[in-house]
Structure formats: C-alpha cells, structure tokens
C-alpha cells in the first residue's frame, strides 16, 4: 500500500523535475531556488526582509517566462536518424535547418525528444540497479533514483541540447547532432525542439516540432575471452544455401539406391516401379564447420543488468571474425526459438545483431529451446552457451548438447561481475571477466545533460 502510494508519486515528481531542468537555465534554477528559500524565510516578516528578495526573483522569473512565449522562429528542420545505432556508442547524424523567416536567429539550441516510457510497479519492482550499492540508504529504500534510472533506460537515450550557429534569414545550415543510446532495442524519437533563452537568461523557450523517427539500437560489444573449440567439419544436408533450414535439404542432385535410414519421403516411387528396387532422391550435401551460439533465455539471477551483459557477450561472439569457410549460427528465444546463420555469403552478422537487439528473457520457452537445440545440434561442430547461471537452464542446454557428442562450452556471465565457479558443469566453463561485465552493462543513469545555456 505504502509502496504503491510512493510509486504513484514518482511520475509527477519526475515530470516536475524534467520540466524544471528543461525550462530553466542554470541561472534560472538558482533564481527559482532563491525564490523558494526567500519565501520560506519570509514566513516571519519580523525576522527577515526576504520577501523583497522573493518578489524580485519571482518577478524576474515571471517576466522571463512571459518573454519565452514569443519564441516562434520560422525554421524548417530535416534530419534523418541512422537506422541502426549501437548501445553506448555515440552516433552522429546531420540536421539541416532552413530559416524561412526574415530575422536572424541567434543563440538557438536543438534537442531531440525521445518518447517517454514509464515503468509500471511490477516492472519497477523487478528492476535491480548495480548503482544501488553506491546510493545512500534513503535512496535505496525509497527507490526514486532507481526509478529515474529505469525511466532513462526505457527512454533509451539522454538528449543533450546542441547549440546552433547563428542563422541568417533565408539561409540553410547543416549541423552535426549526436545521439548516444543507453540501451539496445527500438529507440523511438517523438520529435525535436528548438530552444531559445529569454532576454534575462533565466528561462528557455521551446518550440516543439513533431518529427517521429525510430532506430534499432544493437547490443553493445564487449571483450569476451577467446574460446577454442574443436574444429569439426560436418555433413550438411542441403549445403550452405540451406544451412538456415532445420531438417533435410531439398536441393535435388540425382537418384541413388536406397540405404537403410533414408527417409521414406525421399523414395522415388516411379523409379522404383520402373527399376524394381528402391531408389531415393539424392540432395546436395556439403562438409564445413558450423558453430552455434546459444543465448540462455532464462531469467538471469542478476536481473536486467546481467541479462544485458549476456546479450552483449553473445553479440560480441557473433561479430567476432570467423574462419572463412565456417558458418556461425545463433539460437535465441524471440517469440519462439529461432536460428539465424551468418558467414560464407549467406548473411553478414547484422540479422543476428538485430535479433539480439530485441531479445528478452523468455523462461516460458525453456523447453522449446531445448527441443529446438536437440534438432539443430547434429549439424553443428561446436556450441557456445551463454548463460547467467551454471546450475540452471544454461547447464541443461549444455548437457543436452554434450549428450549428442558435440563440443560445447559454457560462457558464464556471473551476476554483478562476481567470480563464478565451474561446479557441476557438464562441459568446459569460461567466465566473463569482471571488467567485461562492467563494460557490458548499460550506461549509468547518472549521465547528465550538457548545459547549452549556461
């Protein structure tokens, strides 16, 4: 009850804080703070003349605010966000502004407006922040800083304002803007806004322009240990072109005599009738290396932060340079277990990263993933299971791989960078180093916005 009430207060507080940060310049914030303090001290008029100070600061803020209402620069803006960004990596793109008015536009600022996304109470309760251990007791108990961090992560990016050069009437300029994603996934931008300070330098006038755009933020990459697995060329029915299909290949080469074990579906009945002995259709076969990266879709015990590091580790494995004749497969739980393949001209790593950009923990799909893996593994030379716990679903996946006599390795991403032991693991275990763990976590919520109108 109390927690729910507290939670209800978070969003209004956040909105007021955001309004305060966006609406006032640093000088304006000092004025606003002084106004409140002076009001407090002027409660007892006999003790102080702070009311005069409150009157002056309040009047200055009111005049400044009124002056910002006249901000209507006639400016046309074009900008195109990159289709793909990488978590934690600043992305630069161009913004073109055209002054359609007849006045110089000086001292303007520009800022993107990401779509806000507030978490519900259940989501918030499951969110664990590594920064909590650095926070004071009160902040940990109340949880508002954690809530702020979560909002910022869901929003996907901080939006520092960029200062624009002076814009003559009728002229166009192109400026370079920067966007730094804070998390992977889909980043939605509602629009952008032009900013202009009032003549007193206290308030910031804002003109909002609706220019929706979206980008896909790929997982960040981290340093993962080198994992040497046995090279093992394997018979691949259907060859490279059909390597992404699970099951028998259907690229027809010719007919041959039936051998025990051949699928009855491949029997060529007409040829059998004509020749008098069973004949089957033969399809194209190839032998090459094929490596599989499996992302454990179970809930990570370390929560959001650990799972993000697991994804970052998987992404880093995916983009690692492979032998020229090898294929790299990735199995992740999207809506259902999905196999994606790259290498040897089939595809680059982009589709795999796209999938990793959207993957979420799916503990309900654990059984499906095991079954899917059992079907896939016979064609695979070696398997790396990226998991967050050595005694959970990851170990089960590894065990099922080992049972089929396929080389397997567990890449263990321990919670909060803690050292992990091999324990009863069914195969070799490689633990992600702590420094990689820190780099793989999403950016801290403490990132502040650049002050343009300081």
């Amino acid at each position: 009850m109390g927690r729910a009430l507290l939670y209800r207060a978070f969003a209004p507080t956040w909105r007021v804080g955001r309004w305060y940060e966006r609406r006032f310049t640093p000088t304006g914030r000092v004025f606003a703070g002084t106004f409140l303090v002076a009001l407090l001290f002027s409660i007892d008029r006999e003790q102080s003349l702070a009311l005069a100070l409150a009157a002056f600061t309040g009047t200055a803020l009111a005049v400044a605010w009124l002056a910002t209402l006249r901000l209507r620069p006639d400016i046309e803006i074009h900008r195109s966000l990159p289709e793909r960004l990488t978590d934690g990596t600043p992305a630069h793109y161009e913004v073109t502004l055209h002054n359609r008015g007849r006045r110089w536009q000086r001292g303007l600022g520009f800022r993107e407006i990401p779509a806000p996304s507030l978490p519900d109470l259940a989501t918030f309760d499951t969110f664990r922040s590594a920064d909590d251990r650095l926070r004071p007791w009160f902040d940990r108990v109340v949880g508002f800083p954690r809530w702020l961090e979560m909002v910022r992560l869901r929003q996907g990016t901080t939006t520092p304002a960029a200062r624009l050069p002076d814009l003559p009437p009728g002229a166009s300029i192109t400026v370079r803007a920067t966007l730094t994603p804070l998390r992977r996934g889909r980043l939605v931008i509602d629009g952008c806004e032009l900013l202009a300070p009032d003549p007193l330098g206290l308030c910031i006038g804002r003109q909002r322009l609706s220019m929706p755009a979206a980008s896909l933020v790929l997982p960040r990459r981290i340093a993962v240990p080198a994992i040497e697995l046995r090279a093992h060329r394997q018979y691949q029915r259907g060859g490279v072109t059909l390597a992404r299909s699970v099951g028998d290949s259907s690229e027809f080469i010719g007919l041959r005599d039936y051998r025990p074990g051949d699928s009855r579906r491949h029997i060529q009945w007409r040829a059998w009738a004509r020749l008098g002995y069973p004949v089957v259709r033969e399809y194209q076969d190839e032998y090459y290396d094929r490596h599989l990266v499996v992302l454990d879709g179970d809930e990570a015990p370390g929560g959001f932060r650990q799972f993000e590091t697991m994804v970052a580790a998987a992404a880093s494995l995916v983009v690692r340079r492979q032998p020229a004749d090898a294929l790299l497969d990735l199995v992740v739980n999207l809506d259902a277990p999905t196999l994606l393949t790259s290498g040897r001209g089939i595809a680059a790593s982009a589709p795999l990263l796209d999938a990793l950009a959207s993957v979420q923990p799916r503990p309900d799909q654990a059984g499906a993933l095991r079954r899917f893996l059992a079907q896939t593994v016979p064609h695979i030379g070696s398997v790396i299971v990226v998991t967050g716990q050595l005694d959970g679903e990851g170990a089960e996946l590894a065990r099922s791989v080992v049972r089929q006599r396929v080389a397997c390795c567990l890449l263990h991403v321990p919670a909060d960078g803690a050292a992990g032991g091999a324990g009863e693991a069914p195969c070799r275990v490689v633990t992600l180093p702590a420094e990689s763990f820190a780099a793989g976590a999403p950016a801290s919520a403490a990132q502040g916005a650049e002050e343009v109108f300081a």
Binding site: G33, V37, F41, S42, S48, A52, F56, V63, G201, G448
Partner: protein, 655 residues
C-alpha cells in the same frame, strides 16, 4: 571562472557585510576573492582537496547550527542564515583560486563520492551563483529597513542578470528587461509586504482571540516587539471594577525586567517566594509593613494556568479574593497568583504612595556596553545628570514627546543589530517598547535607577459592561524609576498612541466585544454572585438581537462622537478644549504627519517654539487627559493662550 563572477561575489559580500555588520570579515573575504584574479596565485585542486574543503564546511555548518539552535531556539535558523556566508566561503574561494567553472559535485554529496571517488569525470557544480544568492538572503535577514535592502537586492540581481552570458539578445534589450523587472519587482515587493502584514495581523488577531493567555511565569525575557505584535488585537483581557474612579491612565504592571541586551530585556534572578497571608484573611500584603490601600480594584481575567503573573498597580498594597490559593512575589515586585483555571478575579488595594519594599540594585543602573556611548551622549545633551530624578524623567518625557513620533513600525521581534540606535538616530519613531527602553537607559545613564515594565494601560470604559476594560492592544511598556524613595511609572510614549490604536480598531470590534462578554458570562456562570448569574439568561436572549443591532447601527453611523461637549463620560473629557477649534483649522492647512506630537506640529506650523505654546499645550493635555481636569482659572488661561496662538498662526500664514 571569469572576472565578472568574482565581481558578483564582491557585490554580494559588500551588501551582506553592510547589513550584518561584518565589515572586517566581509572585507577580508572580498579581498581574497579579488586576490584569486592573480594568475600567480592559482592553486591546483584535486577532487580529494575539494572533499576536505567540503568536510570543513560541513563541520562549520554543524557547529553553527548547534550553537544557534541552542541559543536562539527555532529562530536560530535566521542566525544560521546570517552566518552562512562565512561557512560556505571555503568552497567558493577554493573554486576561485582553482579558476574552474565548478567544483566536483561529489564534494557535496557522499553518495556521489562513493560513485566517482577521486575521478574528475563526475558532474560539476558552480558555487558562485548559489553563494551570491545566499549572501542576499543573509542580508535580507540582517537588514534593518526595507527601503535600502530593496534597493540593494534590486541592484545586485540586476547586475547578476546583466553579467550572465547571452547570445540571443543584445545588451540594450537585456538592459530594458532588467529595468522592467526592477520596477515590477519593486511594486510586487511593496504589495507583498502589505499583503503579508495584513495576513500576519489577521493570524495574530485570530490566534490571540482564542489562545492568548497570561504571561508565562517562567518567561524571564521579553524582546522588543513582544508587545507591539499584539497591537492589532482587540480582545478584552481585563475587566476592572474600580472604587473610587482611578486616576487615569491606570498602569497595571504585569512583569518587570532589569537587564537589556541585543534588543531583549531579561530578568536574571526570577526566583518567586511565597507571601504569607494576613492571619484569618484571604488577604496578602505586598508592602513592608503591611498596610491597606486607599483605592480598590476588582480585576477579572481568564486564568489559563493555575499559577501566573497578574497585572497590578505599581503601588499595590494588598491582593486578595476568594479565588486566590497562594501569592508569590519575586525580587522586582512581579506578583504571581495561584488561582483556579478559568475566569477568576482578585482584588487589589493600592496607594497612597509608599516607600518601595525593595531597594534598587546595581543592575538597575547598568547600561549595556553596546549602547553606553549613545545613551550617554543623549543624557549629556539633555543635561540629565544635573537634574533631580523627577525633573530628569520629565525632561526625557518632553524630549520624546517633542522630537519623536509614535508608530507601530517596526514591529520586528528580536530585531537584529542595534534596534535602539536605529530608533534614536534614524527613524525617530517607534512604539512603546522603544520609548520605554530608551527612557530606562537614559535614566540609568543619569544615575536614576530604572526598570522596564510590561503590562496594561487602562483607559477605556465600557458603557455596555459598566466597567473599565483593557484589551490586548492596550498592552504597554514603560519605565519604572526610583524617585523619592519609591518606584514610579515614567511613561515617555507620546500620548496620542491610545487614540491612534483606537481609531485603527476594526468595524467588527463591537460584535467581538459582545461575543467576548458572553463568553465571560458563561465562564463565570455558577462562580459569581447570584445577580450576576441571573442576568445571564435574559441577556443572552436579548443581547444577541437588541444589543447587536444597536452596536451595528452605531457602527454604521460611525464612531461615537467623542467631541460632544455634554457626554460627560470619562473618555470624552476635555474635547471642548479651546485649542481644538484652532487645531481643526490648522489641520485643513497644515495637516500633521502621522502620529506627529502636538508640540512638534505646532512648532512646525508657527516656525518656532516658545513658552506660550508650551503652556497652551500643557493645559490642553491636562484638560484633555487629566481625570482631575483643570481649574476654571486655568481654563480661562487656556482660552486666552489659544486665541494668542491663533493670531500667531494667522501671522505665520500671511508670511
């Protein structure tokens, strides 16, 4: 960190040190800020260095907070604010000498220290602007008068706004905006002060109507402003039946104080001792040896605690009554009675003048060091030392009546710095607490033992209740001087104050009086005489209709005509003085300043002062306020003097 920001700090420090009286400290800090401009004095600061400086600031702040709250209680927060520029200065000067735009925010917050440690990557905070504003708030707490502070605050904030970097608007445009803000801010400040005063008066009025009680017997201090803050409250707190009619104005002393410092009167030795009752009687003698007084007062008041101090005449002889359980008295003749909680009454006999039971002590002659030079100068100018005590007191009264005006401003309680100096040298106007304090100190400077008394001035007669009453706004302060072997009241407050406050009474005073009277009757029900109780029923039925209607009707017609010659009431006496028509004519041409004393007004109009005017005014005052009036001869003399004065005024006008 540029030069402009350092200049801003110096401006703020100058204002703060001016108002807080911290010249040396302010000059030193400003000099340090200026010195930081010198490149050769730059100091490289690491985050850890800032942590140490911030820790020092925290320790200073904690120590200051403890000291201020222990010494001043809740009001310590204002003292903390005054001293804050000293406390925060280490952080600011560190930033100045480091020459950076901000200090690590981790220095200010422990959580950020854990996060960023010694790293320089953390967020930064500028201390200059907050420090600038802190100095302004501190100055607002220390500033004694609104006028100069408003000018300073407006100028300082204007400088800050013009110094801020701005690329979008040219300097002239910003200048126009700053001037507009200054003018609008000034108007808003004036309006805000008025609104705040009205709200405050309303709150005090409401609070006092319902919760004000008697003086706390353990309250051993009273600050200037303690009385004046009640000056808008009309609640009746004393009802007095007198026999015979007392000499007006009747001063009832509730508490006395002996030591003055920093705007606060205190009583170092407040030990009360029990007084033995006369054998077989509910009567306690207040004199040694016991005697019975010539006058008698029956005082009715609401007793909110069982034991509390009570207002008594300065020459009270006995106190008694069935309600009293015990009587106590302290070393300065403040009397405390133990009575049942609720409406209680006690009887006092007083007069004739008798030697004081307590001789003056050394502290009755002490002038605080902070005021010694000032008070001595005034005492010297008035040649008080050469006069007998009674004449010295009279000269002080005359001095204040002539050169000073009565006003309820300033009403600041626990005023900062030197309120009396401001009163004597600058404003030359104030309320009773200022006049009484100055009188006590001047008398002491002249070698006359004196004390500070707080109580009530009784001068209003309620036609409705048929008794004398004292309202909360009749609370008064005056001096008690040891003259001719006894303590005598010396009230140097210019005499018009009672009427000034009376005229400021709200229109609903009659209604409130009626409600207060009904409440009083209800509380007395079952405790007073039978006839008293018997009146209650018909009066509660009829008073709500008839009396209320009469009072409202009278209010709508305006205030009762005090100038009617045939009223014969005590408070209307003397309004047919021969000087009054002259004053009415004079008022048309040369209206007096608010609360300007009569002598000062006439002197201003005539262009000089002489014995004729003095005599005329003295007779007028006696005729107007002295209950015993003046003789027919003196009245004729007043008429002649008034005519003479009228001719002089006409002559002055012609010139």
């Amino acid at each position: 960190m540029n030069t402009a920001r350092r200049v801003l700090i110096v401006i703020a420090l100058a204002g703060w040190s001016w108002y807080a009286g911290q010249w040396l400290g302010g000059a030193l800090m400003a000099a340090l800020v200026c010195a930081s401009l010198h490149n050769g004095l730059r100091v490289d600061m690491t985050p850890r260095d800032y942590f140490r400086v911030a820790d020092l600031t925290s320790v200073l702040f904690a120590g200051l907070a403890v000291l201020c709250f222990v010494r001043y209680g809740f009001r310590g927060i204002y003292q903390i604010m005054i001293w804050l520029p000293y406390v925060v200065f280490p952080l600011v000067i560190a930033q100045c000498f480091n020459g950076v735009p901000g200090i690590p925010r981790a220095a200010l917050f422990a959580s950020l220290r854990r996060r960023y440690g010694d790293s320089t990557d953390g967020p930064q905070s500028d201390t200059v602007l907050p420090y600038f504003m802190a100095c302004l708030v501190a100055a607002s707490v220390a500033a004694p008068d609104a006028g100069s502070f408003v000018a300073f605050a407006g100028g300082a904030l204007g400088a800050l706004l013009l110094a801020a970097p701005a690329r979008r608007h040219a300097l002239p445009v910003r200048g126009v905006f700053v001037v507009a803000v200054a003018l609008a801010g000034l108007s808003v400040a004036v309006a805000a002060f008025k609104v705040q005063q009205q709200l405050e008066d309303l709150m005090v009025y409401l609070a006092a109507q319902f919760i004000h009680g008697e003086r706390d017997p353990n309250q051993v201090i009273t600050a200037i402003g303690s009385v004046s803050r009640l000056k808008t409250v009309d609640k009746i707190v004393l009802r007095i039946d007198a026999a015979p009619i007392p000499r007006l104005p009747l001063l009832l002393t509730e508490a006395m104080y002996t030591r003055f410092d920093h705007g606060v009167w205190s009583l170092p030795d407040n030990q009360f001792v029990a007084v033995d009752a006369l054998p077989g009687q509910a009567l306690w003698p207040l004199t040694e040896p016991a005697r019975s007084g010539t006058g008698r007062l029956d005082i009715h008041r609401l007793q909110r605690r069982e034991v509390s101090t009570v207002p008594l005449p300065v020459d009270a002889a006995t106190v008694g009554g069935g309600d009293i359980f015990e009587t106590q008295r302290n070393g300065v003749d403040t009397v405390m009675l133990e009575m049942p909680v609720g409406e209680s009454s006690y009887q006092v006999t007083y007069g004739p003048p008798a030697p004081a039971p307590y001789r003056p002590a050394e502290f009755d002659l002490r002038v605080p060091d902070s005021y010694a030079a000032l008070i001595d100068r005034y005492a010297r100018d008035l040649e008080l030392a050469a006069l007998p005590p009674a004449a010295a007191a009279a000269r002080i009264i005359e001095f204040f009546e002539t050169h000073y005006a009565y006003t309820l401003e300033p009403r600041r309680r626990f005023p900062s710095r030197y309120p009396l100096r401001t009163f004597l040298e600058t404003t030359r106007s104030g309320h009773c607490e200022y006049f009484a304090t100055a009188t006590v100190l001047m008398l002491r400077s002249a070698g006359v033992p004196a004390r500070y008394a707080v109580g009530y001035l009784v001068q209003e007669y309620s036609e409705f209740e048929q008794r004398w009453i004292a309202r909360l706004r009749h609370r008064h302060a005056w001096a008690l001087a040891y003259i001719d072997g006894r303590w005598q009241s010396v009230d140097a407050t210019p005499p018009g104050w009672f009427d000034i406050e009376d005229q400021a009474a709200p229109p609903w005073q009659g209604v409130m009086d009626l409600a207060n009277w009904l409440l009083y009757k209800t509380r007395r029900f079952g405790r007073g005489p039978a006839d008293d109780n018997g009146l209650l029923a018909p009066l509660t039925v009829t008073a709500l209709t008839v009396v209320l209607a009469v009072l409202i009707y009278r209010r709508r017609r305006g205030r009762p005509d005090h100038r009617a010659a045939d009223t014969g009431g005590h408070v209307r006496q003397g309004l047919d003085s021969a000087l009054i028509p002259l004053l009415e004519q004079l008022e048309q041409r040369h209206p007096p300043a608010p609360a300007e004393p009569l002598r000062a007004w006439l002197t201003r109009c005539v262009g000089g002062r002489d014995e004729t005017m003095d005599r005329a005014v003295t007779l007028h005052y006696r005729y107007r306020f002295d209950p015993s009036g003046i003789s027919p001869t003196e009245r004729n003399e007043l008429t002649e003097l008034a005519a003479l004065l009228g001719r002089r005024l006409v002559g002055a006008d012609l010139q």
